[in-house]
Symmetry: C2
Subunit: 341 residues, 2 copies
C-alpha cells in the first residue's frame, strides 16, 4: 500500500523528516515494506506545495535549504487545510508546526481536520495534546485513525514507545525524568562549579535557551510534557496548572555545594506518581544521591526512570532534542502506524 504523506511545518523538524524520508526511501521499502510519496508540504511562511502523485523531495529540500521557501518547486497551491489534505489524497499527516501551548494552534486545527477524515497523524507539537488530548483520542477512534506522538517527550528517544509497548503487561507506578535539556545543562554546569548566572549565560551562548527562557527555567516545558504523559498513562483529567511546578531559578551555588557534600546532585525532576489511583504530577529541582540512575545524566541529554510492578526500575537515556532526532520520532510514528494497518 502506497502511503501519501503530508508534512505540515518546515522548520528544523519538518525539514529533517523530509531529509530522512528522501535519504531512506529504498531502505524503508526493503526493511519495512513502507512505500510512500509526500504529496503535500505546508508552511505558513515558506509556502504550500502539493502534487497528489508525489512531490520531488530532493527539489523540496534543496529549495528549503537555498531559499528558505518552497516556491522553487513550482507546485504552489492555496486553500483551506482540510481541502488540501483531500486534494493531495493524504493518508498520513506529520504535524510539526511551532508549538503554542496556550491555543494549540495551528496544529490543533490541522490534527482535527486530519483525524476527522480518518487520516493517521504523527505530531511533535505539544500544545494540542496537552490541551485537547481526550478530544483528539476520541476523534481518532471515531474515525478509525491513529494518533502517535513519540517526539513530544525526549525527541526520538523511544520513551513513549517503551511506556506503551516495551512495558506492556506492567503497571507504571512512578516515573522520574530529566526531560528538559536546557535546565539539565545549567544544573550540570553548576555541579561542575559554575554559578547559576555563569551556567545560564553559557547555555544562552550555545543557543540552548529560547528567546523567552521562562519555558525552560520556570519548567513550563517539562510540565506540559508531564500533562501529556499523565493523560496517556492514566487517562486523568489534568492541565498544566495542576502540575506542582518549581523551576530552577532559585537553585544557588550554595545549594549545589551542600548537595555535593552529601554525595548528591540537584536535578530538575519531572515526576508522576500513582499511589493506587491517586496521581501526583510535579516538576521540581530535587536533591538525588549520586547512585540514582538519573544522577549521572549530564548536559542536554534526557533520561527517564520508570518504576513498575513486574520489572522494578528501567531507565532510558537519549537525546531530548535535535532536528534529526525529532525527525526520527516522526519516522518511527509513521512506521508504527503503517504496521498497524
Amino acid at each position: 500500500m502506497l502511503r501519501k504523506i503530508a508534512v505540515s511545518g518546515c522548520g528544523n523538524v519538518g525539514t529533517a523528516l523530509l531529509e530522512l524520508l528522501c535519504e531512506k526511501r529504498a531502505e524503508l521499502k526493503e526493511k519495512y515494506g513502507f512505500e510512500f510519496e509526500v504529496t503535500l508540504i505546508s508552511d505558513l511562511f515558506k509556502g504550500t506545495v502539493a502534487d497528489k502523485n508525489g512531490l520531488d523531495l530532493n527539489a523540496a529540500i534543496n529549495s528549503l535549504h537555498t531559499t528558505n521557501s518552497l516556491t522553487g518547486l513550482n507546485k504552489d497551491v492555496r486553500g483551506e487545510f482540510g481541502e488540501l489534505l483531500d486534494s493531495a489524497e493524504v493518508n498520513m499527516l506529520c504535524e510539526a508546526t511551532p508549538t503554542n501551548v496556550e491555543t494549540g494552534e495551528p496544529a490543533l486545527s490541522h490534527i482535527k481536520a486530519a483525524l476527522s477524515k480518518g487520516i493517521d497523524v504523527s505530531t511533535t507539537v505539544k500544545g494540542p495534546l496537552s490541551l485537547a488530548y481526550d478530544e483528539l483520542v476520541a476523534l481518532a477512534k471515531q474515525n478509525g485513525a491513529q494518533l502517535q506522538f513519540e517526539g513530544v517527550v525526549m525527541s526520538g528517544t523511544p520513551f513513549i514507545t517503551m511506556l506503551n509497548h516495551g512495558l506492556a503487561g506492567c503497571r507504571i507506578l512512578k516515573i522520574e525524568g530529566i526531560i528538559n535539556g536546557t535546565t539539565n545543562f545549567i544544573l550540570s554546569k553548576m555541579y561542575s562549579g559554575a554559578s547559576y548566572e555563569e551556567a545560564f549565560n553559557t547555555a544562552r551562548e550555545l543557543g540552548y535557551t529560547e528567546t523567552d527562557p521562562s519555558g525552560d527555567i520556570d519548567a513550563w516545558d517539562p510540565a506540559v510534557k508531564v500533562v501529556i504523559l499523565t493523560k496517556m498513562l492514566y487517562g486523568k483529567e489534568i492541565s498544566v496548572s495542576d502540575v506542582d511546578r518549581t523551576g530552577i531559578a532559585n537553585v544557588t551555588f550554595e545549594d549545589m555545594e551542600r548537595a555535593k557534600e552529601d554525595g548528591c546532585t540537584i536535578k530538575l525532576i519531572a515526576g508522576i506518581e500513582n499511589n493506587h489511583g491517586d496521581i501526583k504530577a510535579y516538576v521540581a529541582p530535587k536533591k538525588i544521591p549520586m547512585t540514582h540512575p538519573l544522577a549521572s545524566i549530564n548536559g542536554a541529554i534526557n533520561a527517564a526512570t520508570v518504576y513498575t510492578d513486574n520489572l522494578g526500575t528501567t531507565t532510558i537515556i537519549g537525546p531530548g532534542a535535535g532536528r534529526r532526532a525529532t525527525g526520527q520520532a516522526m519516522l518511527l510514528d509513521l512506521l508504527t502506524m503503517a504496521g498497524k494497518k
Copy 2:
C-alpha cells in the same frame, strides 16, 4: 479471541509467568483485550498437566510452591510434546526449560514442534536461538507463526523490543552492553576496592554464580547473547566460536587501580560493530571513561547503549535477571504476538 497457552518448564521463570498470568487476568483483559486459558503445563521433573478448557492456575501455582510438583492438580497427561500441544489446543507456547547451549534441547524440539503447527512461541531459552536461529525464523514464517524472545537478553528490560520497534527507521551501527550481571557485580566490587577473589567470593555467597561459574567468568553467557543479537539485527551466519571472547578472570586489582587513576573503570563489554556490513562481535573487559553511559552501571544491573544513524546514542538500563522480570519478558511477548494477530 481466547488464547490457549502452554507453559513448558516450571523453574523460576515458568512459575513466575504462571503467577503473573494468574494475578493479572482481569487487567490483561481490560487493558489489552487479552483473554487466555493455560491449557498445558509441562516440566520434565514436576510433571505434565493439561486441560483443553483451562487449568486452574491457582491450584497449579499452589501445587508447585507446596510440593514442587504438578501432581496436586490431578490433571496428569502423558505423550509426545507435539501431541500434547494438539490435544490441549495450544496456540501460544511459552518455552522456559533450562538452557543447554550445546544442544539447545529440550527447548529446540519443543519450539520446532510448536512453530511447525503454526503455534506462536515466546522463549527465554538462549540455546535454540544461538544454534538454530535461521531455521526457527524460517519455520515460523513458513507456518504463519510468530517467534518472540524478549527474555533472552536483559530479562524483561525491553531491549529487544527497543531494537526491533523503538528504533525502527534507524540503522544500528554499534551496540555496547553490560549483559551479564554476575561479572558486572564482581567488577563493581573491584572498583570499590575488592580483589578479584574477594569480589568473586561475595558473588558466590549471594548466589549470583552458577555451580560452574565459567559461563559467566569466561563470558560464554554474554557471547551467546551477542550471537542472538547479531543474527537478529544483521542476519549474519555466526556461532559462539566466532565471538572474540575474553572473560574477567585475568582482571587484577592493579588493572582496576590503574583504570581509576585514569578516570576510568573496567567493565565486561559485549559489543557488536557494523562497519558498512563488516560485522565484529566481541565480549571483553574494557577500560571505559567514567563519562561513558555504561560506567555508572553497578551491581547485577544490565545496560546497553545503541549507536544509530538517526538518533546518536540511546541507552537502556534495567534488571538482567530475576524470576518476575523474566516472567514479564514472556508476558510482553504474549501481548506483542496477540497484538499482531
